[in-house]
Amino acid sequence: MRTILRVIKFTGQSLWRNAWLSLITLTIFVLTLMTVNAVLLVNVVTSSAIKAVQNEVQVAVYFVPGTSEATEKAVRGYLLGLSQVKTVEVITAEQALQNFKDKNAGDPTVLAALDEVGGNPFGDAVVVSAKSPDDFAFIIEAIKTPEFAPSIKQTDYTDYQVVIEKLTSFTDKLRLAGLVLAGFFGLISMLIIFNAIRIAIYVHRDEITIMKLVGAQDWFIRAPFLLEAVLLSLLATIIMTGVVLASTKALDVPLMQYFGQANLSLWGYFTSNALVIFGGEFVGLAVLSVLTTVFAIRKHLRV
């Protein structure tokens, strides 16, 4: 117990009496965590953006004009019964016409063409959202059952298919790039931490030698340095937690407005995963700094 108290006392003294070195090491720890959190933040925003775009993808199934309401209802029920389908929205011919007019309000040529056709060229339709863009092919195939096929005029999936494939390919690449970026910054962070601690230990090299020469055991010399590494990791994590939570709180409203998505809450993401994110960062940082300390101090203990 006495020895543990002494280790704590020496750690406190070292932190205080080497305040500048402690501050520099702490700053490096904070900057490293900042990099990690920045990559994490970008990944969250990217994933949300991808999700937002994917949610925008819908497939319209147009009915042959005159299709009975019962058939349309049956198609809707059938589609909703598929596990791949998220939502099914029914658009009547009148709604479709109105939507078309609204969309092309600024284009007199299109509106003139519509007048030329006369009447309502649109039929009823259902707009289907899938749980995943990969599911659209299945949904389209599923709707081509002999029971419903005669009532279906067309699906506009063909146009979407290319977009969905491109989107899926792009998002996969984006995710991979995010992982590579995270790995790259992770590696840089490790090297920075490694060097920061090596420098800190190097500054103390004479002290370590003297401690050995006056009869200190290796663990007694090592313990304050290890405790210091853990304390600095903890302090850096606390600072970074504060910075991340404050900045995500401030960013939430502008980001939601930009992406037009109510469920994109970085603050919500970081608070609901706080233990995993910040706990993980603390454990990672502490383990890395402790291992580096053990490694860096080793050669100075050979006296």
């Binding site: 080497n18 004479d206 020469l213 009869g215 055991q217």
Partner: protein, 227 residues
């Protein structure tokens, strides 16, 4: 108290720092080990507190054969031998009191004992009023006194002083040697490694002379023999 038997120390690849060194130091003796730079006298001192290991031969301190001392036993040995260095080797970010107390703290001494012993030892070395100073606030002589106080704090049976006056002026050197003599009078064995002719001649104690790694003379009440 200290017995070296046919000690050889070779630094790779071919530097023979010590060649067939044998001697015996009795309890309570004051022995000066003299020699010019590179003669091997500091290597000899380092062997005593296990900073170096002999290539061959046998070293016994008290009843302890430290020739092949295990790494984990070195701290115990160093707590039994007080060592004074030429460059003082003080912890720059600890006060005078903390530097001396540190030697007891590493050995797990009780706080009450530390509070009792450290002021006593600092008083013996004449630094009773400088507990709170840091090493850089002290003169060279004062720093060496702190180093001696730290070496004494375990009440060791042996003190090894490796060129303790090497960084000090003549007057301060004489004061440090007087302090070591006083410690010796209390019964502590002192091994003084030096190349200072005046000090050795003034001491009139046993002198072991080393040249090219070999003991070339061993004289009671000896003098500095080298040119």
């Amino acid at each position: 108290m200290i017995r070296f038997t046919n000690i050889n120390k070779v630094y790779k690849p071919t530097t023979h720092a010590l060649v067939g060194v044998s001697f015996h130091v009795k309890p309570g003796e004051f022995v000066s080990i003299v020699g010019s730079s590179g003669s091997g006298k500091s290597t000899l001192a380092k062997l005593l507190f296990a900073e170096e290991r002999p290539t061959s031969g046998k070293i016994v301190v008290g009843d302890w054969d430290i020739t092949q001392i295990h790494r984990s036993e070195i701290p115990t040995l160093r707590r039994q031998i007080g060592v004074v260095f030429q460059d003082f080797k003080l912890l720059g970010r600890k006060t005078v009191y903390e530097n001396v107390a540190f030697a007891l703290e590493v050995a797990g001494a009780a706080n009450a004992r530390i509070k009792e012993v450290v002021p006593q030892v600092l008083k013996i070395v004449g630094l009773g009023d400088k507990h709170g100073r840091y090493p850089n606030q002290l003169s060279g002589g004062e720093q060496q006194r702190v180093s001696i106080a730290r070496a004494l704090v375990h009440r060791p049976k042996i003190i090894v002083a490796d060129e303790p006056t090497g960084n000090l002026d003549t007057v301060t050197s004489r004061e440090i040697i007087e302090l070591l003599k006083k410690i010796n009078e209390f019964g502590t064995t002192v091994v003084l490694v030096t190349h200072d002719r005046d000090i050795v001649n003034a001491l009139k104690k046993r002198v072991l002379t080393i040249n090219n790694g070999k003991i070339v003379s061993d004289v009671e009440h000896g003098k500095y023999m080298l040119g």
